[in-house]
């Protein structure tokens, strides 16, 4: 647990932080608005006392109420992993700014998050499905996507597979429209 | 029918209806073959002498036909042997066992491979140019086989001793590329096309240093013989001892020749055309069954040919590496001198020899061997023993057997070297391959040619 990191982060990112800097074991966690992701990431990477130069991970999270995009960063200046949670992305129309302008490698990670959660990363030049077939319509890692044999977990709900009729608006073209003509709901 | 025809007349029909299918076939085939035999004898008696006269009058033509057939027949066993050698040698180099299931030490493996290829579906994919697709393996295979025609296996044992033998060899060898290109183009597959074009670029590039490297040898040969392009004469020029071999007079030329020949035969490290990790199987991607088999055979025949040419031009061909003193005339062994007696001798020896060996098999093998098994093994043992005896006698008695032995020893040495290279070396890249040919091999071969020519002119003055 790097206590100095907390003060450094608070000094640099004071306005952007939503909630306190949370530290546990070897992890430091901050929460930000999705809109401030580009600014925050740029500061974190380029600030001389932070230098978070390696994007360790980019993950989407569906909490059931909101979507999150979670970044893990590594810096030679600290012994902690830094976790940035871009919180409060609405589930109906999840969109977040892309991190590809800083880390080219975020492109596929964002494609994966889009594929699994439907989070639209604005600024990603190649945001299409990466694992699922192009005519697929659902987003499998969302919490309302239940596995067909998941009766045990959703008591009373039985077998229910959610096929998403509508995509988040502005999600650049799924092939599904052209192949399958998904029924509009 | 019975009502209409009397008992005596219906008898053969009743017999016929009672026969099984096999017996009916026999009733047809046996009389037919008797009639055919009679007709054959009649034809031989009537038309034989004039036909023989005709053959006598056109002896070169007959010789050519016989040699061509023999060489065509030779290629398949050669390919079988080479495939087995490659499987086994590479396996040993990779710390594996290699084929060991079919036949003794897995020796029948390549035969089984051949049968497998033969029994597979001959598949023509959609979109191919069917004519070209079908002809491509034939062209490749025939180009390989035709080069064998001028290679002197032994004194007197050469398909056709052309006075432009070497030129013919390179011309026919260059024809291989046509087949590969046809296969690549017609397969309607991009991997095939890439393979075909690679082979075209590669063989055209390496043909030049290959040919130029040999020109030095031709110049050297010209000091001793008039027919410098005849492979037979090039061998004769090198006869004597090991020191007369051209490899010692033209080491650089041999090096260039060997590298270029590797590329010419599409062998590792120059197997661009069928680079399996890059373009799947290259020109052969879409081929299956015996068409693929022809490509497969052609490749191994090519290896044999290239090795044979290396042995012929640079290592004295069928000449012994040193003066071979032990040679006796065993005229009584000549097939003609025993005449018709052979017809009696051969089956008798086979029968009783098999019994003889089978007896020992039964005694020493115990009950593990049944009667027929021990008879079979006895026959094999007898054949091996006889073959050894005949071979030894032939080696002593006939210079062509000696020559063939030396030739094969030298050729298979190079075959093993090719296999060794395949087991060891990675593949070079296309641009490196071409750059090597044009930047290094070609200047080196020109330099070699220049030095040789200058030396010959200066020394012969």
């Amino acid at each position: 647990m790097d206590l100095t990191l907390k003060t450094r982060l608070e000094a640099r990112l004071g306005d952007y932080l939503r909630g306190p800097v949370y530290q546990r074991r070897d992890e430091t966690e901050i929460r930000i608005e999705p809109d401030s992701v580009p600014d925050v990431l740029r500061i974190l990477r380029d600030a001389r006392d932070l230098r978070f130069e390696i994007l360790a991970d980019l993950a989407g999270v569906d909490t059931g109420d909101v979507m999150q995009v979670v970044y893990h960063l590594w810096s030679p200046m600290t012994t902690d992993w830094l976790r940035i949670i871009a919180d409060g992305i609405p589930r109906d129309d999840p969109r977040a700014p892309s991190a590809t302008f800083l880390w080219t490698g975020a492109e596929w990670l964002e494609r994966e998050a889009y594929d699994m959660f439907g989070i639209v990363f604005e600024g990603n030049r190649d945001l299409r499905r990466i694992f699922m077939p192009p005519d697929y319509t659902s987003f499998p890692l969302r919490k309302d996507f239940l596995l067909p044999d998941d009766a045990a977990r959703s008591t009373g709900a039985g077998v229910r597979q959610v096929e998403l009729g509508v995509r988040p608006t502005g999600a650049n073209g799924d092939a599904a429209d052209d192949i399958r003509r998904a029924p509009a709901s | 029918m019975r009502a209409g025809i009397g008992l005596a007349a219906s008898y053969p029909f009743r017999l016929w209806t009672r026969l099984t299918v096999r017996q009916r076939l026999g009733m047809i085939v046996i009389p037919a073959s008797v009639v055919a035999a009679l007709i054959t004898v009649l034809v031989i008696v009537l038309a034989g002498p004039p036909f023989l006269d005709f053959l006598n009058a056109n002896l070169p033509l007959v010789r050519f036909a016989v040699a061509a057939t023999a060489i065509l027949m030779l290629t398949i066993p050669t390919a079988f042997v080479l495939i087995y050698v490659e499987l086994k040698v590479i396996a040993r180099m990779n710390l594996r066992v290699g084929p060991n299931r079919v036949g003794p030490w897995g020796m029948a493996m390549s035969v089984i491979h051949g049968l497998k290829v033969l029994s597979k579906e001959d598949f023509t994919p959609t979109g191919t140019d069917v004519t070209v697709f079908t002809l491509a393996p034939v062209v490749t295979y025939m180009a390989s086989v035709m080069t064998l025609l001028v290679i002197p296996f032994a004194p007197g044992l050469v398909g056709q001793d052309l006075n432009i033998g070497l030129l013919y060899f390179f011309a026919m060898g260059g024809l291989t590329v046509l087949g590969l290109l046809m296969a690549g183009w017609s397969s309607f597959n991009k991997y095939s096309l890439l393979g075909g074009l690679r082979s075209a670029a590669q063989i055209i590039s390496y043909e030049i240093p290959l040919t130029l490297s040999v020109v030095g040898v031709i110049i050297l040969a010209s000091t001793k013989t008039a027919e410098t392009l005849s492979l037979n004469h090039i061998v004769l020029v090198q006869s004597g001892s090991m020191l007369d071999w051209f490899v010692f007079k033209q080491p650089l030329a041999f090096l260039i020749f060997f590298i270029a020949a590797t590329a010419e035969a599409n062998r590792t490290p120059f197997d661009m055309t069928e680079a399996d990790s890059e373009i799947v199987a290259g020109f052969a991607t879409e081929y299956s069954g015996m068409r693929f088999g022809f490509f497969f055979f052609a490749e191994y025949v090519n290896v044999f040919i290239v090795s044979a040419l290396a042995a012929t031009i640079f290592f004295g061909g069928w000449t012994a590496p040193f003066d071979w003193p032990w040679s006796y005339n065993l005229n009584w062994l000549h097939p003609g001198s025993l005449g018709l007696l052979w017809i009696g001798i051969v089956p008798t020896v086979l029968l009783f020899g098999s019994f003889f060996f089978a007896f020992f098999v039964r005694i020493f093998g115990g009950r593990a061997w049944g009667v027929w098994e021990s008879m079979g093994l006895g026959l094999i043992l007898l054949l091996v023993a006889l073959g050894g005896l005949v071979g030894l006698a032939g080696f002593i008695a006939f210079d062509w057997v000696q020559g063939l032995t030396w030739f094969m020893v030298k050729t298979y040495f190079f075959v093993i070297v090719f296999v060794w290279m395949r087991a060891t070396l990675p593949r070079v890249r296309v641009d490196q391959l071409m750059g090597f040919a044009w930047k290094w091999l070609l200047p080196a071969s020109l330099l070699n040619l220049f030095v040789t020519a200058t030396a010959v002119v200066l020394l012969n003055r």
Binding site: W81, T104, R125, D126, G173, D178 | D276, I279, R427, R429
Partner: protein, 429 residues
């Protein structure tokens, strides 16, 4: 593909046949009266990798538009040199790669979703087959993350055993990497020597864990069993000649002129680009960044061990290969230290049968053979992880392929992709 220009046939017989067919209610071909041309076009479309729907993104549309003299080559998903079921759509000009579009997902099983519906213990089963060549490291990352959630102290002996088995598996994976790189460059021998080496290690681990590939050995709070006699005797036997064997295997390639020429200066990934792509592992260290999770963010007992983090500045395929060879040497050193310092004690912490961690989030990352293997897990207080995110190094490393390939020859594709060491099981999750 052979150029197939539909030559307008004007032969009378054919025209009549087509007209007759049309008159009889047969199919009317649109623009021509020659059915063969139509067939050719259909076949042409069938064999092109162009997707049958309009481009989804600008980049896709740009990629699937052919320039002058260019063609597509569909490399994979079934190709001898794509390490599984990777599909690379190459845009070629002659043999030169102009652009490349990797297509993933042929092995996608939705492991993250499965893990979210499994017990914490069962998650460790699920993550094994991801990178099947180094399955202990996925377990390790998951275990690391879970242990932070559960707040459990792992016994020191268990940590030593983890490091010991992990480094053994790292050697096995790297050895195989050397062989496969050579195989993709056309060398037949090294792969077999590699497999012999790997088989010894894998048999050794089988004696320890009971399985050859999917070990399922690490547990939350320790490992699934102490060292046994067979493992130790095999390990001692192997350690006596490991260094020599490694040098021998490396010499097969290091001193091979063709191999060096095929890999030197090919696929150069410079330092800045590598950092931008988030590349980790040997691929990053070959570009001159000494980022090794074992040193950069130490876990387990690595702070106590002495080993170097080899780096190289060239960033080409050869450097990536040589880094692996150096890492094998370092791993042998680590194993030696583990064996010398192995403490006594239990190998499992005491934990309940059913784990219900407090709600929280944790990120655990280990240095696998291919780079940083990370797991981000969220607990909601139930017995199943609420979110289980697997960060696979091959996935990120493979992302550099579209940046590295253009300008190189088709043959270099294999030298580059193989040197990045992707394992499709992990990439496709």
């Amino acid at each position: 593909m052979p150029p197939r220009q539909p030559a307008p046939r004007k032969s009378k017989a054919r025209t009549t046949a087509a007209t007759d067919a049309a008159d009889a209610g047969g199919r009317q071909y649109a623009s021509t009266d020659d059915p063969r041309i139509m067939l050719d076009r259909q076949v042409g479309n069938l064999y092109e990798p162009i997707p049958p729907y309009p481009p989804r993104t600008e980049r896709e549309g740009e990629f699937y538009t052919l320039g002058d003299g260019e063609m597509f080559l569909n490399l994979g998903p079934h190709h001898p040199a794509t390490h599984g079921v990777l599909r690379l759509v190459l845009k070629l000009s002659g043999e030169q790669v102009v652009d490349v579009d990797p297509v993933l997902g042929y092995l996608h099983r939705g492991v993250e979703k499965i893990c979210e519906n499994s017990d914490y213990y069962h998650v460790l089963d699920q993550v094994d087959p991801l990178e099947y060549l180094s399955s202990l490291f996925q377990e390790w990352a998951a275990v690391l993350s879970f242990e932070k959630l559960v707040d459990v102290q792992v016994p020191r002996r268990a940590e030593y055993i983890r490091v010991l088995s992990g480094e053994l598996l790292r050697i096995a994976s790297h050895t195989l990497y050397m062989g496969f790189l050579a195989l993709d460059l056309g060398g037949l021998a090294p792969i077999l020597y590699s497999f012999i080496e790997r088989d010894e290690i894998v048999e050794m681990l089988a004696a320890l864990t009971g399985a050859r590939m999917l070990f399922n050995y690490y547990r939350i709070g320790g490992v699934n069993g102490d060292l046994n006699h067979e493992f130790m005797s095999r390990l001692g036997d192997w350690m006596s000649r490991a260094a020599g064997q490694t040098e021998a295997n490396a010499t097969l390639l290091n001193e091979n002129e063709i191999f060096v020429r095929r890999t030197r200066g090919v696929g150069v990934l410079d330092r800045a680009t590598a950092l931008q792509f988030g590349v980790t592992g040997g691929n990053l260290r070959a570009s001159g960044v000494p980022f090794d999770v074992r040193r950069a963010h130490p876990y387990s007992i690595y702070p106590e061990l002495e080993f170097n983090v080899p780096t190289r500045d060239e960033g080409d395929s050869l450097a990536r290969y040589l880094i692996r060879v150096d890492e094998i040497r370092e791993s042998i050193k680590i194993i030696d230290q583990c064996l010398n310092n192995m403490p006594d004690g239990p190998v499992m912490a005491k934990l309940p049968r059913l784990i219900r961690p407090r709600p929280g989030r944790s990120w655990g990352a280990v240095e696998g053979p291919r780079g940083m293997m990370g797991v981000y897990s969220i607990s909601d207080g139930s017995d199943q992880p609420f979110r289980f995110r697997i960060h696979d190094p091959s996935f990120v490393n493979l992302q550099t392929v579209p940046a590295l390939l253009p300008g190189n020859l088709l043959a270099d594709t294999m030298a580059i992709v193989a040197s990045l060491d992707p394992v499709l099981g992990g990439i496709d999750k």
